[in-house]
Symmetry: C2
Subunit: 211 residues, 2 copies
């Protein structure tokens, strides 16, 4: 951990946002390793290079630290997804794009992948109250991509977009989970994403005659 502890400038460098971000980064790392409940605030503080008390200058509680973490990171993910989806013309290509993009992003941030796939479910409260909003937003995005393509006759229309969206979310989550918990071999996620997209797209093709 780069610790610019030396000499002056310290005060200027360590802007509020900087320290907040440092705490968030440390939290991702620690939560990923031990899970939310098994993580001690003092460990996060140590990992961030701040005192225990400092965390409470930026977050109201340990709970709120986790909440903020999700808010921050998932919002970021959703922004990217929205933007990228719109850059691809409507159709099956969008499904592929979402699948590959999402796994590609997580591939670069193993810890985050683990926090999202594992810790998102740590607190039932979090999952039921907070996450629902973001989660729904995510499913809506996915479902509308599918519904659009169905409308255009590019994907089979005899399956519920919402069910497919859930399945895709789950499949991505499951793949990310096993990857993060396993040896996390480089390129593994990307490769898996391509294969998953292959299967899904073939599976979603319009059927010649839907008997």
């Amino acid at each position: 951990m780069t610790e610019p502890r030396f000499s002056a400038r310290r005060r200027d460098d360590a802007r509020a946002g900087d320290k907040r971000e440092r705490i968030l980064r440390a939290a991702v790392k620690v939560f990923a390793r031990k899970g939310f409940y098994a993580s001690r605030v003092s460990e996060i503080a140590k990992a961030a290079g701040v005192a225990d008390g400092t965390i409470y200058l930026y977050f109201k509680s340990k709970d709120e630290l986790l909440t903020s973490l999700f808010e921050d990171r998932i919002t970021r993910l959703l922004e990217v997804l929205h933007r990228e989806v719109e850059a691809v013309p409507s159709g099956p290509g969008r499904v592929r794009r979402v699948v590959e993009l999402q796994l590609g992003l997580l591939e670069g941030e193993r810890d985050l992948a683990e926090v999202i796939t594992v810790n998102l479910r740590q607190s039932t409260r979090l999952l039921k109250q907070y996450a629902t909003k973001r989660f729904t937003e995510y499913l809506d995005l996915m479902a509308s991509v599918i519904a659009d393509a169905q409308h255009a006759g590019e994907l089979r229309a005899d399956v519920s977009p919402r069910i497919v969206a859930r399945a895709i979310f789950g499949a991505l989550d499951g793949i990310a989970l096993t990857w993060a918990l396993g040896n996390a071999e480089p390129g593994g996620l990307t490769r898996a994403g391509t294969q998953l997209a292959d299967v899904l797209l073939q599976g979603l093709l319009p059927r010649p005659t839907a008997a």
Copy 2:
């Protein structure tokens, strides 16, 4: 162990196995509602109709209670899956069977569905140490079903059985999760299972010419 379930199981009649099972059932219910960490041992005791201390006569700790719960229930699930899979001739039908069976079983036990999908990830320790074994067993089953069918030329062979197995596990998990957290409409899981199987099987068909 399966013991006399009927008869007037009053306090006097409460055999050891019975009480253990009662505690497990209560634990499923409470864990499902509040999550492992937010659940108090005293709540489980109350729900089971026993004293707090009694739980420690059957389980070494709260942790071990959760572990035993998984051991017990997932072993049961795996047994059913193994048996059922063998009852279906090798091929795509097996994949459908596993998918539909699994969701069908969870449909009847919403609480258990929630515990498995959510609480399985509560404790990173549990997930990393204990679950790995059962989880691998599960993935192996699924992967071998797929690999067999690929061998027989009944499913496309250009995708990794293991990746597909993970994706299927994830898809099932995601569907069960959203179902359990949502309104859990009756028949919803079964319907979702059928559709998922449809898409998967079409997606896994051998491709005319794997260019």
